[in-house]
Amino acid sequence: MKAARAVPLIAVLAAALCVFPAGESMDDFGRLIPKTIGAWEAREADRVYDRTTLYDYMDGGAEVFLAFDFREVWTRRYAGPDGGTEGRELTLDIYDMGSPAEAFGIFSCDREDPEAGIGQESEADFGLLRFWQGRCFVTVTAAEDDETSQRAVLDVGRAVVGLLGPPGPKPDLIGYLPAGSLRADRTSFFHSNVNLNNRYFVASENILGLDRSTDCVFAEYDAAAGEAGCLLVVRYPDAAKAEAARRSFLAAYLPEAGADGLARTENKKWVLALRKEAVLVVVFEAPDPDWARTLASSVPSLKSPSR
């Protein structure tokens, strides 16, 4: 498998300069975004939450955002055609994630629904639209998930996307993934253990030593008979930390593995962990040892983070 490195330089430069149109701040969304969209109307004051106040806004998700470079979220509620009395209400959240890579990251960790064609990548179903554009991650959530609400969710998304600035690049680490049978829309980028465990539960403790200093990509590949093999690539600040994580992982998860870091697990699939400079590569759910070795060997060595 060959590495699919495709992060154009121009996109990187665009990301460095990425601002909202005409240099507005999040507060400016209040005047730029229509207060009436179709039969839906904003009746309450808009709100902005930052890293310290995010807990006031969400219960159950704040830590997930704080594990990224989240800056602020601008939020507005729209009451439905019934004035919201029958529970029809939409919530628009625009998250400034600090960079396009981080916006892609938060989007990529929770994908289940069909593409909606809004922004750089999107998904929508059951009254929830999620997309990313530039350094922004956007959600539109309906209290109800009927057809009227679902249509309005998409209308609100389309009304907003043009205000979010130019597209930005995905994280560079994505570009190092072996192409092969990669399921591109199942690739996630993140930093912390909370994100890994919500994407693919590995262990109740942080046995890989993940934190905001680590860049992680979790990807799925077609294996056999519709099944997926999984690849976790973690880039540590230095090789010593990567080696410590490899040892910790093998001790807690794969104690029977030999020097090659390979072992068969209870579901008759294979797991392989190996270090390449500052990168730890772990293959899960491999159908056989060769499949695991081939996938892992296709990941190039990386000495240190690019940030």
Partner: protein, 292 residues
């Protein structure tokens, strides 16, 4: 340190063992029961639009509390929990996507009044319990909230419901909210909780989106889980969530992020039991698709 649970524990079916459920010893006859938990369900408590029948709900609460305390009258049962002249705080949950139903709050309040608590000395609050005089002066607390998964702690149950009593909520977030059990040792709370109610009328078994909510992952289970020990109540609640996830999402997603705080509330903070063998689990009412 808690034992590390890995994905491989799911593959071998030993997750419950490491979680403290000790299923391997479940057949042993002589385990001492230190906590009683009652699950009650009624097929008619929700209509096809999930509207609550308040009379049926009141009956469910009454029956569960009577069974919990071996009483034959609901007022007598509540009279075992609180005494006339007390100030009682009902710690509810107002999370907009899945709040404690008003009908359940009303049912609790009604029985407290019946048991002799003056109406103006019953507090009902969530976010402002720390400054609410009725909670500051409360001598008894009733802990009630819906059962749902949580992105960080794994599960939101009766233990997590007390996080609003903390001066700083983020202080309880490290290590997947491992130390939520410590909330029950805060002076405003310690020794005051008389009843814990997990509302499982429409539990949420998985989350999506920024607020970790999607109606597709809520189902009409039509139950209440009631007990005096919050750890035991949450232990049963977790088993229900795990069973539903296993059924819908598959064995590999049986657990949300591991809710280690439940076991640690037992082993580290000593406020109750998470050992299924020490829990007398009583099931009442409707049995269809009961899952646990």
């Amino acid at each position: 340190m808690t034992p590390i649970i890995t994905r491989r524990d799911f593959l071998t079916g030993t997750t419950a063992v490491v979680l403290g459920a000790h299923l391997a010893r479940a057949q042993e006859p002589a385990a001492a029961k230190t906590a009683r938990v009652v699950l009650i369900r009624h097929a008619g408590v929700l209509d096809e639009n999930s509207a609550i029948n308040p009379d049926i709900l009141q009956g469910m609460l009454d029956e569960a509390v009577m069974k919990l305390l071996d009483e034959s009258d609901p007022v007598a049962a509540f009279g075992r929990l609180v005494k006339p002249g007390e100030t009682v705080g009902i710690k509810t949950n107002v999370w907009s996507y899945l709040p404690t139903p008003k009908e359940l709050e009303a049912a609790i309040k009604r029985r407290l009044v019946d048991a002799g608590i003056a109406e103006d000395r019953i507090g009902l609050d969530d976010h402002t319990v720390r400054t609410n005089p009725l909670f500051i002066n409360a001598t008894s607390l009733i802990n009630v909230r819906p059962l749902r998964t949580h992105y960080l702690s794994g599960m939101s149950g009766t233990l997590k419901n007390y996080i609003m009593f903390a001066e700083s909520q983020p202080d309880y977030h490290p290590d997947s909210c491992a130390d939520l059990g410590a909330l029950f040792k805060l002076p405003i709370v310690q020794g005051k909780t008389r009843l814990n109610i997990l509302c499982a009328l429409t539990p949420q078994f998985h989350g999506r989106g920024p607020h970790h909510f999607s109606r597709r992952y809520v189902w009409a289970y039509k139950g209440l889980i009631v007990g005096r020990d919050p750890v035991a109540v949450d232990t049963i609640g977790l088993r229900l969530i795990m069973a539903k996830r296993r059924e819908v999402l598959g064995k590999a997603q049986e657990l949300p992020p591991v809710p280690k705080h439940i076991q640690l509330a037992d082993t580290r903070h000593g406020i109750g039991t998470s050992d299924i063998n020490a829990i007398e689990f009583i099931k009442l009412g409707w049995g269809e698709d009961i899952l646990i």
